[in-house]
């Protein structure tokens, strides 16, 4: 409970937690659009493209204020995203090839600038490389204010462009047909995504930022088929991941915040994939099993019925060894026999003999008729 006490009274814990919550929520909202538009990896590219911006901003201004560095990061991140779009549009190279190309080249150039700065005399570049892996613990109150203000700007823009972004996410051709400037809307959405990515760089780092864009949105997608609830759930999952990541890393020794946040978000995805909505893997698995055992029960009943048809007395007990069904082991057979007995379609006679009941014959006959009817249909 110390953590929650600190959350209110401890400066560092409060600042870091607030920061990660804001970052999680912002990236959840904008990530939703990215995931729906099959641009999940754009966040990854943008975060890598931000590195030269951070380095160049420092090289040109000699300052390390978050605002200055974020401006640089935002500019090169935006430029990188634009280049990805242009390469995708103007060449045969697929979207993912364009992403990989741009991210590696920009990041490589960022390294060039970083090493160049390192070798300059009396350059206090220390702290720039925290952008690579993220260091939430160094967040200051004014950093959180910066993040809050920029995050609010992104949220307001999302509200203003809601209808437009929704349409270009689901049916860009229709938007084009309505005479909307789709490329402009694209660019506005992309700019907000760049903003969200850049905000998180300092605390989760370049590599892990992509997960912050994808994970909350991917998890939220499992619970709903509507955009507004998806965005809300993604924001909530992002915020909770941010808070729990900060918590885990505060409570555990030598636990970096960024990876902790990412693992919480990844766990949210796994849970959502398993249990989310009716498409959840667990529900699907149960449904398939039920359906399958239904078919197997029918098969077993019909096997008895066919035997009965070959003899005068349909109620005569049959030896179990005579009933053979492809692919059915003893365990499954005994299981299903118990089911048939419980339904009152079969009765056990002695150790190894079973007999059909009146209801059993009736059910089997109607099943047989249904199968014959289905077989006759073209």
């Amino acid at each position: 409970m110390d953590f929650f006490h600190d959350l209110i009274f401890d400066y560092t814990v409060r600042t870091v937690s607030l920061g990660t919550i804001l970052i999680g929520a912002t990236s959840g909202v904008l990530g939703s659009f990215a995931v729906l538009r099959r641009q999940s990896l754009l966040g990854d590219a943008v975060s890598h493209c931000a590195l030269p911006g951070v380095a160049l901003a420092f090289l040109l201004t000699g300052r390390k204020d978050l605002m200055v560095l974020l401006t640089g990061a935002g500019l090169t991140g935006w430029l990188g995203a634009q280049l990805v779009t242009q390469i995708d549009k103007r060449t045969r190279i697929a979207y993912d090839g364009a992403l990989g190309l741009v991210l590696a080249v920009f990041f490589g150039f960022g390294l060039v600038v970083l090493t160049f700065i390192q070798k300059m005399p009396n350059a206090s570049q220390a702290g720039l490389d925290k952008f690579l892996f993220g260091q939430a613990a160094t967040m200051l109150e004014r950093d959180v204010i910066t993040i809050a203000v920029l995050g609010a700007v992104a949220m307001i823009l999302t509200g203003l462009f809601w209808k437009e972004w929704k349409l270009i996410s689901f049916d860009p051709e229709y938007a084009q047909g309505l005479g909307w400037r789709v490329s402009m809307l694209d660019a506005s959405l992309m700019s907000c995504l760049v903003l969200a990515v850049v905000l998180g760089l300092q605390s989760v780092g370049v590599v892990l930022m992509s997960a912050m864009i994808v994970a909350p949105a991917a998890a939220a997608r499992q619970w709903t088929d509507r955009l507004a609830p998806m965005v809300a759930i993604a924001a909530a999952i992002g915020a909770i991941s941010g808070l729990s990541g900060a918590w885990v890393s505060a409570e555990t020794a030598r636990m970096p915040t960024g990876p902790a946040i990412v693992l919480v978000a990844a766990a949210a995805v796994v849970l959502s994939l398993a249990f989310g909505s009716s498409r959840g893997l667990v529900w699907t698995w149960i449904r398939i099993r039920q359906r399958r055992s239904g078919v197997r029960v029918e098969q077993l009943l019909l096997a008895f019925f066919n035997l009965a048809n070959q003899h005068e007395d349909p109620f005569e007990p049959r030896e179990l060894a005579l009933v053979k069904i492809v692919d059915m082991g003893r365990v499954e057979r005994d299981d299903l026999l118990g089911l048939l007995e419980a339904r009152g379609w079969l009765v056990r006679v002695g150790a190894s003999h079973w007999a059909l009941t009146e209801t059993g014959i009736e059910i089997a006959r109607s099943l047989e008729e249904r199968r014959a009817r289905i077989a006759r249909e073209p």
Partner: protein, 369 residues
């Protein structure tokens, strides 16, 4: 051999080894898997290090390569549930695995000398210091031997299974029909990619691995439609990026891997602009030509429509023509100029008339409609 030469040689061999599988990845729209693999092998390396306590152990490479294949398998399994698309699956799997690696390192910070920065950025400058010693004789840098072995393996596999890989890359349906098992080919190929990524990652760092896998084949694709040519050109472009990048790093006294990635990007940018068929300039030029030809056709048809002896038909006057065609005045002037140069029209005291060739072209255009 001087260290400078050795560094360039290692980079060239690595570039060649990466360009071969890279070509197939770029063509099959799976380029981002290199990004994913190069990050997600981290926990493999860390776990293997905990077991062996030896950074030079070959088990590290094996574990990393296995991790690469696991990454691909995880991505496909998530994708096959039908609940998430492939890009989202990639974007989830590799940061999660990378996070596990980072946490493992942080938890055992005192005992592990795995430098995360060096892992990600790579330091080619140090590669010549790690020597291969056979029977007491120094036979060269270790990574040069490793990358040469991987390069030969790649060449051998691609040559032996060229047909299978090509068919599986371009037509999965046909591949299954012909009895080439696409899944088997896919995973074997992914194992090859993982081995190459791991080896190259050790030599040049993960960012340059991604750059060398994607940028040279992508650049080559701007110039050719043939797979074999693309592989060869990709190798050449990668090697050029390595050598030029080294010169750049030397001049700026900056990161070697970063410079090589930057040059690879510059080479792509050049190709993107000037490639004869698929370059932006060529496409722009072609589009202009097509527009002009279409305009000339419209012009001659327009003149045919107003082909009377009457000198007073304003529709034909050079001074008012653009209003009737509802074109920009400059565009009209240029079209008329080009049409005159082609001998399709002549100007007779401000009156634009079709020549015989022009008349013929206009009639032909009408019948084509």
């Amino acid at each position: 051999m001087t260290p400078q030469l050795e560094i360039q040689l290692i980079a060239v061999v690595t570039a060649a080894a990466c360009a071969i599988p890279g070509t197939f990845l770029v063509l099959r729209r799976m380029a981002m898997l290199t990004d994913a693999i190069s990050h997600s092998i981290l926990p493999g390396i860390v776990i293997a290090f905990f077991i062996t306590h030896d950074l030079a152990s070959p088990l590290l490479v094996v574990a990393a390569a296995v991790m690469g294949v696991i990454t691909v398998w995880l991505v496909e399994s998530i994708f096959q549930t039908g609940n998430l698309r492939q890009d989202a699956a990639i974007g989830l799997v590799f940061p999660a695995l990378f996070s596990i690696g980072v946490i493992l390192i942080a938890q055992h910070a005192g005992h592990v000398h795995l430098d995360l920065d060096a892992v990600l950025m790579g330091e080619l400058a140090f590669a010549p210091f790690d020597r291969m010693i056979i029977a007491g004789t120094d036979v060269g840098p270790k990574s040069l031997w490793v990358m040469t072995a991987i390069l030969l393996l790649n060449i051998a596999v691609i040559t032996a299974f060229y047909k299978e890989l090509t068919i599986a890359a371009f037509d999965q349906g046909l591949a299954s029909l012909l009895g080439i098992r696409p899944t088997l080919i896919h995973y074997s190929f992914m194992a090859l990619v993982s081995i190459t990524v791991v080896g190259a990652f050790d030599a040049v760092g993960s960012i340059l691995v991604i750059a060398l896998f994607i940028a040279p084949p992508a650049t080559a694709w701007l110039f050719t439609d043939r797979l074999a040519v693309m592989i060869g050109a990709g190798t050449g472009i990668g090697a050029a990026a390595a050598i030029l990048g080294y010169q750049m790093a030397h001049a700026l006294d900056a990161s070697i891997s970063g410079s090589m990635a930057t040059v690879a990007g510059i080479l792509f940018a050049v190709g993107f602009l000037i490639a004869p068929e698929y370059g932006v300039v060529a496409k722009w030029h072609r589009r202009r030509e097509q527009m002009l030809r279409a305009r000339i056709r419209m012009l001659v048809v327009h003149l045919l429509h107003h082909e009377t002896k009457d000198l007073r038909d304003e529709e034909r006057w050079v001074s008012t023509l653009h209003q009737h065609l509802t074109w920009d005045a400059d565009v009209t002037r240029r079209t008329v100029y080009e049409a005159r140069a082609a001998g399709l029209v002549q100007i007779d005291d401000g009156d634009l008339r079709l020549t015989d060739t022009g008349l013929e072209k206009a009639r032909l255009a009408m019948t084509e409609f």
